[in-house]
């Protein structure tokens, strides 16, 4: 067996772990915070939040190298990792084992959700400029349908769970938490963080529906 840096296996696994936290995890937190401002209404959301981001220089490069490519690698390599294990959540009903299984399940669910989510917003916006011009109304109309709302809620919870649990296991992988007590303590920290992010995300989803429609024309 060759040593660490001559063997890509270790580096690929650690890269997969790292990219899941930064930039993907960091982007998720930013994304949820950004969209939580939906409740301030169409004008604020379209101009101050989405508009400000759309005006960023080199936006496409950021989107490609900080979001799309890391996400593609994380998802693709994640599928490879799933192929190297077989969860038995029923035979071994321990919490960590269930989380192991859920982490893989949520990963696959997220790939499906993100294909839809990115397709319906960012990609659709490329073909229909009115979507990116008034994203608030687009989202408000979409989320008003119960099926779409349920889909987004599921996608949000999957993403938040995947990040929170991924953070807890990454801490073991990188060697931050070694002792069982440290792993348990940090697990609770991650659970708290997950709940916080979930609340932020749900707040954002509801914001699209309850915000004043002024200027939105819903």
């Amino acid at each position: 067996m060759s040593s660490s840096i001559e063997n890509s296996h270790f580096l690929l696994r650690r890269l997969h772990s790292l990219l899941g936290l930064v930039p993907i995890g960091a982007f998720l937190v930013f994304h949820l915070w950004e969209n939580s401002q939906s409740r301030f209404g169409a004008a604020h959301y379209n101009d101050e939040v989405v508009g400000a981001l759309q005006g960023l220089n080199y936006l496409l490069l950021f989107e490609l190298f900080l979001i799309a490519l890391p996400l593609l690698f994380h998802a693709g390599y994640g599928l490879v990792i799933i192929g190297h294990g077989r969860a038995e959540p029923r035979r071994y009903g321990y919490l960590r084992n269930r989380l192991y299984w859920l982490q893989r399940l949520s990963g696959v669910g997220l790939i499906l959700f993100l294909l839809l989510h990115v397709g319906l917003t960012r990609i659709a916006g490329l073909f229909d400029p009115s979507i990116s011009a008034d994203l608030f109304t687009h989202m408000r109309q979409a989320l008003a349908q119960p099926a779409v709302f349920a889909l987004y809620l599921a996608g949000l919870l999957l993403a938040v769970f995947h990040l929170a649990n991924g953070l807890a296991t990454a801490a073991i992988v990188w060697g931050l938490t070694a002792s069982a007590e440290a792993q348990r303590r940090f697990g609770w920290v991650c659970a708290g963080l997950g709940l916080l992010l979930a609340a932020l995300g749900v707040h954002g989803l509801l914001g699209f529906l309850i915000a004043p429609a002024a200027g939105g024309g819903a």
Partner: protein, 268 residues
């Protein structure tokens, strides 16, 4: 010899035993049910020994004795590990009185079956070799050093890992372990499993073994090494010797992070 059917001795307590049998490595497994008299203090191994003397199924058919492994009878050799009511554990320390009846016995999963409850655990030994789980005591030269000293605190931590008896329970319960997950490099590159990783932790802490620390870390940073751990942590739950396997994995995570740092930026 007179058959001792349970029905002939109503005073004797009996237990129903369901055993997954397999006649050879490649033949199909099948189930057989036995009703066995239970002696006070009996465990699964002693029950199987009694059954061997009188191997008659519940419906009265005389069958071949059930093949199984056992040795120490005090949970230190690891030979008798099997699935008991679905959990991997040594059969000698599984007391009949504490088990839910009917008792289901299956060979330890993830390892190839030799016959009945006997499995081939050669993979475990092969993985211990892969991670260099040994200590080079001396060479062909004279080592003029006396045995190095270890603090009691360090000794106490190391002792936990020295209790590993290579029973394979942790590997059986591990969702990442199994010859079928050999990736593109073949079964010899499949995940080494928790027990060999814990031995790396132990050998690296040894006053003489630590000289080969980097070599062992490099071994577990390759295919099928530490990074294949999925943190399901079943290993630490099923370990009959209560070895802190996941703590070892966390410590090795830290050590490999530092080792990668050294490999990338020096000093080597």
């Amino acid at each position: 010899m007179q058959a001792r059917m349970p029905s002939e001795s109503p005073a004797c307590e009996t237990v129903e035993l369901q055993i997954r049998r397999q006649d050879g490595p490649t033949t199909k497994p099948y189930w057989q049910t036995f009703v066995c008299p239970v002696r006070p203090g009996a465990n699964v191994v002693s029950l199987l020994m009694d059954l061997r003397e009188h191997c008659v199924t519940q419906d009265g058919t005389r069958v071949d004795p059930v093949a199984f492994e056992h040795n120490c009878m005090e949970e230190v050799c690891g030979a008798c590990a099997m699935l008991i009511n679905g959990s991997p554990r040594p059969a000698c320390s599984a007391l009949i009185a504490e088990l839910e009846a009917p008792i289901r016995l299956e060979p330890l999963p993830k390892f190839p079956v030799v016959r009945d409850l006997m499995v081939d655990r050669a993979a475990l030994f092969a993985h211990l070799k892969r991670v260099k789980a040994w200590i080079k005591l001396d060479g062909p030269w004279d080592v003029h050093e006396r045995a190095p000293r270890v603090s009691p605190k360090e000794w106490q931590a190391n002792y936990l890992y020295s209790r590993c008896m290579s029973c394979g329970c942790c590997m059986a319960a591990c969702p990442q372990f199994g010859p079928q997950f050999g990736s593109q490099f073949g079964p010899e590159a499949s995940f080494v499993g928790p027990a060999p990783l814990a031995q790396v932790r132990l050998m690296n802490a040894h006053p003489t073994g630590r000289y080969d620390k980097a070599e062992r870390l490099h071994a577990i940073m390759a295919d099928g090494g530490l990074s294949d751990c999925g943190n399901a942590q079943n290993c630490v739950r099923v370990c009959p010797k209560a070895i802190p396997l996941t703590t070892a994995i966390g410590e090795l995570g830290r050590e490999t992070t530092l080792q990668a740092f050294k490999d990338l930026f020096g000093p080597h």
